[in-house]
Symmetry: C2
Subunit: 331 residues, 2 copies
């Protein structure tokens, strides 16, 4: 299978899950100190993950939780961020200027910052108040942190059962999805590698992933134009430009907003003959209880899109690591 | 001038401004009763206006203020919405299903709902706890309400000065923009009426307007595909697909996030030869103090886009009131 190393992938997910005791020690100590609210701060792909964490928490929590775009926060500020605010950030390189500035501003405003900075030696990793260094698995790390805060607030009574299941089954279940989705990914890439435009629709804890898949993968890494739209918003204007041959992909997850994507999926066949539905429900996820599938739907769909990416890269002879502009010039 | 009735436009804006005593009576009475937080609830175009109100308030307020998509709220809920929450909605027809359901849910959750429902006889207008009926001017109505809450909280000390200026000069200043922008609007429409795709970039209190202009005007009413992107996000992936001939329009406002759009405007000429900068700073706005221009930049730019719309409709022989799908079928 192209660009697939089963052992590496299993180790990557299991290694992320193993961060839980480290994450919990941080959360537990912050809960003892007390806090007012929780801000997920990011930009681009990390901002998208922040949106996912916020929707995930909204399912259960009565805490004040919000996402902030780092660049916008640096200019407009946010008076809700102050002492007793916990800010969470993630950065692969530790060198994203807006996030570095955002962390400095949040700290100046009195907030405590938890960082998932992959490069432990970066200045950003040293700047944050609490640092957890581990590569990739951003959403999983965010959700583990979110879940611990909710467990400590008494809002996630089956937290231990949930994570016992994840520790035992998640990595294998996700790797199985990737294998199962390989043929689909290849066929999809073949059909859409030359699209002049592709529409991606999603919602719920899947929306941030839909937004960043369109922007950070197709636009940034495959150089294929896209538009991403929230499932509910699809019906409020955007759908007027969908015609028979417009390429549209709907991500259907299993969280509380599933119905909104199902509505798009049910409507599309009437007006379009070039649509694809990618539904997390079609994957077995052995060992994962039905009631927990909604919280990991975005990871399931990510395994499917990894397969698409591997084949688009190959068919288009366009290595995903090349950039025209990003970090190639001063702007 | 095409589709332009100066007196009607002046009356429309001045009539909206005259709602202030009615709006203030509602806000003042709610402030006396006390409240915890403020939720702007909408979908599609009204959701976009909610985003604008939230950014506008963030400039000054320490209140908890957030936007909710009505369809998402109906499914996921939001435990921050409860007794002592004030929910604000807007609806032209009063018949948007998601908003009707959202209002019912918010009230069931204990919240007080203020509605700007244009059709006073609609069931939605009767459902809300406080109703203000007046056509169009959605953002102006939202901002007047927001400003009164902030004034009552002591966060807008020059509230009276600001509105004395608006009452005296805003309508005339905006109408002047529309006249001034007519030739530009015509030339822009001529140049872009056949675009297969158009990119719109904006930020700050202008972002919601950028999103809805792309979706609710070009896609829904002109049937021209678009993508809208926040100015800061532009550099985090999307810009990789911009080439010499890609049509890109940047809206530059004068609020706290102006710099983010200026950055896009400064970068574009290096990679693109088909871009347009629409900057509110280029319009005189007679009588409006420099420090107040940022709060009305989105209205200035709306006057410019009205001119574009008038000519695209004419050149494309595509009446803006026709729809392929929206409210034409069951979905």
């Amino acid at each position: 299978m192209l660009k697939f190393d089963e052992k590496k992938q299993l180790d990557s997910i299991n290694g992320a899950l193993a961060l839980r005791s480290e994450i919990n020690a941080i959360v537990d100590s912050l809960c003892e100190q007390g806090y007012n609210n929780l801000c997920w701060l990011g930009i681009g792909g990390t901002y998208a993950s922040c949106l996912q964490a916020v929707v995930h928490m909204k399912e259960k929590t009565s805490m004040e939780v919000f996402a902030e775009n780092a660049a916008e926060y640096c200019l407009t500020g946010n008076k809700r961020i102050g002492p007793k605010t916990i800010v969470v950030i993630s950065s692969v390189t530790g060198s994203t200027a807006e996030v570095v500035e955002g962390v400095k501003k949040a700290q100046a405003d009195g907030a405590i910052v938890i960082g998932f900075v992959d490069v432990e030696s970066s200045a950003l990793a040293k700047l944050v108040d609490y640092e957890v260094a581990y590569p990739a698995n951003e959403q999983l790390k965010f959700f583990m942190l979110a879940d611990r805060f909710m467990a400590k607030a008494g809002e996630f009574p089956d937290y231990e059962t949930y994570y016992a299941e994840m520790d035992q089954y998640l990595a294998k279940a996700l790797v199985a999805v990737e294998k199962e989705a390989d043929a689909f990914g290849k066929a999809f890439a073949q059909a859409h590698k030359d699209d002049s435009m592709h529409y991606f629709v999603g919602t719920g804890n899947q929306w941030g992933a839909t937004y960043s898949y369109a922007m950070c993968y197709w636009e940034e890494q495959h150089w294929i134009p896209t538009k991403s739209i929230q499932s509910a918003e699809f019906f409020h204007g955007m759908f007027e430009i969908i015609e028979r041959d417009t390429p549209v992909t709907v991500f259907v997850g299993e969280d509380s907003q599933r119905m909104l994507s199902e509505r798009v999926a049910a409507f599309l066949p009437r007006i379009c003959n070039n649509y694809t539905i990618i539904d997390s429900k079609n994957y077995a996820l052995e060992g994962i209880s039905p009631r927990y599938r909604g919280s990991i739907s975005h990871l399931v769909l990510q395994m499917v899109t990894r397969r698409i990416d591997a084949y688009i890269e190959k068919f288009n002879c366009h290595p995903m690591e090349i950039r025209r502009y990003y970090r190639q010039m001063i702007y």
